[in-house]
Point group: C2
Chain length 205, copies 2
């Protein structure tokens, strides 16, 4: 096997690139540090100087995926900065599903059983969760007993649940049906937000 040398830091990036290729091609099952090392042409021992374990490498890869995901969402929503919050929520829902279907392996690494808290900020850029929370805040709805982050969790749950069910085949659907399902989820979420805010004066805290 050829042995290559890398500048400081480059090997870590090369390993993350190799992880992306390998996980995209074959999924996470069977992925190993040894395999990643082989793909970049170095000894596994060299890799362990950058990532303490296979899990640490996958965690770093998941963090990179979240950064890309947040950037993709921001591109979609950024174009709509002047539009009302419900329009932005709708676009975010569809963008979420689109990302998952376009990058199923990444999505599974991000949201598989890896215990990655997606609310943790990504250095230097907004996360998808930040974007969602900001959209809720921009809307200025005030719902008793719940802050923007709690509302964001509720909105996120519906979009994530539908996406996961479609991705996993639990809810088989054509492209048109998928759109209709996501539209229904977001429409329902928006109706719920408006209803809960509207009746605020009648509610007890």
């Amino acid at each position: 096997m050829p042995r290559r040398s890398y500048h400081h830091g480059d090997l870590a990036n090369a390993l993350l690139d190799a992880t992306e290729t390998l996980v995209t091609e074959r999924g996470i099952m069977g992925f190993s540090m040894r395999e990643a090392a082989r793909a970049v042409g170095v000894d596994p021992a060299a890799c362990y100087r950058h990532f303490a374990s296979r899990e640490a490498l996958l965690d770093a890869f998941a963090a990179r995926c979240f950064a890309g995901f947040g950037a993709a969402m921001e591109r979609e929503v950024g174009k709509l900065a002047d539009r009302p919050a419900p329009d932005r929520l709708r676009v975010m829902g569809h963008a979420y599903l689109k990302f998952a279907l376009a990058h199923p392996a990444k999505f599974r690494v991000m949201f598989g059983p890896r215990n990655v808290d997606v609310r943790v900020p990504i250095p230097g850029q907004p996360s998808a969760f930040d974007l969602l929370t900001k959209t809720v805040e921009d809307w200025g709805l005030s719902i008793p007993g719940t802050d923007a982050a709690q509302q964001a969790v509720v909105l996120w749950a519906g979009v994530h649940g539908l996406t996961q069910l479609i991705l996993d085949g639990a809810l088989p659907a054509t492209a048109k049906e998928r759109q209709a399902h996501m539209d229904a989820v977001v429409t329902h979420e928006i109706a719920g937000l408006l209803a809960r805010a509207a009746k605020r004066p009648k509610e007890k805290a």
Copy 2:
């Protein structure tokens, strides 16, 4: 290795029992027909007469899990047959999360990337999806452009999404926070249903 003999049909059940034990103990990764065969004390070739492949065995196991899940939900909701639909929806949401946290391995087999259409009826008993749809129908809300099954998909998405995010550690939460999140999701879903039904006369089909 001892070889045991089974009456017709018993081996299939024994293999499903072994699958439950093995998958519960160690998850789906690395699970093999060979391992299941060893657990029940027969030759792998005998197993392939009942299940054409590892995937076929896991599909049969997932079907059994769905039957158990539907029965668990029915036990919880059946007690509340006289209660209003929103109360039943709330109980179903909490029961869903409770099942997933109590049986994570089963839940992952049921809802992992196995392309099991959960809306397919389970012979001889209502599925969890049937129960949900029936609850929506019982409520008698009429929302334009959407039938009870479509409404059920929307409700399910929120509950499933929150459950999956908690189970996977994407949304770390204490037991109390988990309850609060699920309550928020179901409250929001109910508010959305009521709002969409209430404004029906003003809407165009």
